[in-house]
Symmetry: C2
């Protein structure tokens, strides 16, 4: 009873089930794959695989389907990544190259990814906390109202209207210009979390009444680094959920909910990010996968998430995540390569 063949059988079951969407039996298995043994032998192997928890049967006397652990073993040890075709690479590259700003790049990316994988795609905006500050702009839009525009080195632009606090004298253009200059000298190039001390240092250098304004500014910056603002995601391809494959009624609704409840997705991506940063050694590629119940969210128990960090040389200093959601029964090798490729291209755009 060869151990190797048993794994071959698992691999065959996974790939057959993924493509046919039907439980696969011993006979059809030997027919489709050149395994060189009889169905009876396969049955023995299957029994062992079932015993080990890698496959299961929906009901007695049906074929087998992989369990979550089966898929897990498959992606960890059995899957060989399929390289993208040349036209695909070119398509990604040219499509992304056209993007005109960050919003555009993110939107193009998510659509591209969804179209490439034929699944639901999500892209996180670059995390502000993990970005550096490129520039701060102060615009005096009215007496007593200043528009603050923060531009990160990842291309994000966040703006806030700031009501000048009482006690600050009437502002004129030149004062604002002076302040803008000071702030940019002090803060440009710093990472966002380091902004607060830098700005507070600026407050020391100016007249006490202007210092009030600077402190208000600090609050604005802090507010911008809040989770709600910070964590934006965009998604595309929900239509793929309805495509034949997902077994509608049960599955689709909770998945849509999970997607709209961006909180769930965010948490999930954050968890995956944490794992990436920790166990950076063993994996030769950055793509990480959560399969079915591994998502630890009831609504996604039949859904897998394939995600990759992007922007930054290694997983440690990635600025955000992107990935796709699909049925546990998905084509992992193809999906994983697509996700990886798109992450790489987007990385280029986001770190110029």
């Amino acid at each position: 009873m060869s151990e190797d063949r048993r794994l071959d059988v698992l691999r065959a079951i996974v790939s057959d089930y993924v493509s046919t969407r039907e439980p696969v039996g011993s006979r059809t298995l030997v027919e489709r794959h050149a395994l060189g043994v009889s169905p009876a032998t396969i049955r023995n192997d299957m029994a062992a695989l079932e015993e080990a928890g890698y496959i299961t049967q929906p009901h007695t006397s049906a074929g087998r389907i992989p369990t979550d652990s089966g898929y897990r073993l498959f992606v960890d040890h059995l899957a060989t990544l399929k390289p993208l075709t040349q036209p695909e690479r070119r398509a990604i590259e040219s499509f992304l190259a056209e993007s005109v700003d960050l919003d555009d790049a993110v939107n193009r990316t998510v659509r591209m990814l969804s179209q490439l994988t034929q699944q639901v795609a999500v892209v996180q905006y670059p995390s502000l906390r993990r970005s550096g500050l490129r520039h701060v702009e102060l615009v005096l839009v009215a007496p007593g109202r200043v528009l603050v525009v923060l531009i990160s080195d990842t291309g994000r632009v966040e703006q806030r209207m700031l009501d000048v606090p009482a006690g600050v004298p009437e502002l004129d253009e030149s004062t604002v210009a002076d302040l803008r200059g000071r702030i940019n000298v002090a803060a440009a190039g710093l990472r966002m979390p380091a902004l607060r001390p830098a700005l507070e240092a600026v407050a020391q250098d100016v007249t006490p009444d202007l210092a009030l304004l600077v402190h208000a500014l600090v609050d604005v910056v802090a507010d911008t680094l809040t989770v709600e603002v910070e964590d934006r995601i965009v998604m595309a391809g929900t239509a793929h959920l309805a495509r034949a494959g997902y077994d509608f009624s049960r599955t689709i609704s909770p998945v849509l909910e999970a997607i709209e409840e961006q909180v769930v997705l965010m948490r999930l991506l954050a968890e995956m990010a944490a794992e990436q940063e920790a166990g950076g050694v063993g994996r030769e590629h950055d793509v990480s996968v959560r399969i079915g119940t591994e998502t630890r969210y009831a609504g996604l128990s039949e859904t897998s998430v394939v995600a990759s960090p992007y922007g930054g040389a290694s997983a440690q200093d990635a600025v955000a995540f992107l990935g796709v959601l699909g049925p546990t029964r998905m084509d992992y090798p193809t999906t994983m390569t697509a996700v990886r490729a798109v992450a790489r291209y987007l990385s280029r755009v986001v770190t110029p």
Copy 2:
């Protein structure tokens, strides 16, 4: 054969069908509504209504359901809008009041609308073409690279990176500041489409080599007013599609596709906007409705769209549209009031 009662019957059929989701027959109709006549009489009326094309039966010897024209008659003449409850009004108001910038307001709005109507909601960003320019910001991020930030009076902020064209001398901060000043004096407060001539006038006032830069700027502005950038929409509530009611398999997939194909939606909203502007007289409220096939899009043949312009005193100078998508079999009175209310609140936010 009273004409009035026939319309009462239609109204009853619509409201019953909407709430029960089942074809409604003559007997149950007289039971639920105090019509004061016998089922047989109702049957005669029904036959007439069917003859006139307002109702139909899914199969012989089933109850009747409204046709698209039936719904049309209902919303045009029969429906009485239900006012929102006090708590609902308060919820909308307080939820929107918390918004911190335009993105935030739009996102909150779309979620609120979707939650209120239990349907898919869409909100268009304020059209740039229909907005005025509040401020232009030029940021010298590197020698030879200028970041252009356009801020509209509706709160939109669009930024573009501009590569300084060859022939323009090395820029320094004071030159940029001077240019910024000139441009804002010349252009701030103008409507976007009027920007081009205003900027070209500025080009006359500066040295010929700087004029090159100004012309590049004109291009950037024009680029921003392009349809692709211009027309952004955001949506929420796709999970409601999967809720019981929509008859899955057929309907849901094309609807999701139409939603992602934002083009389709945009066109539809544009058409509805055009009608609004034209026929502003007859309708006492701004909400407009497309029912089923009236959408003129195959995928939406069982879907209705309820939309309203927002921002601006009248339909003529609205800055954009918002609305919801739902099954033709929806509660029009409630949906219409919700859409109208939300549109009004968002108008306040967007035109301060």
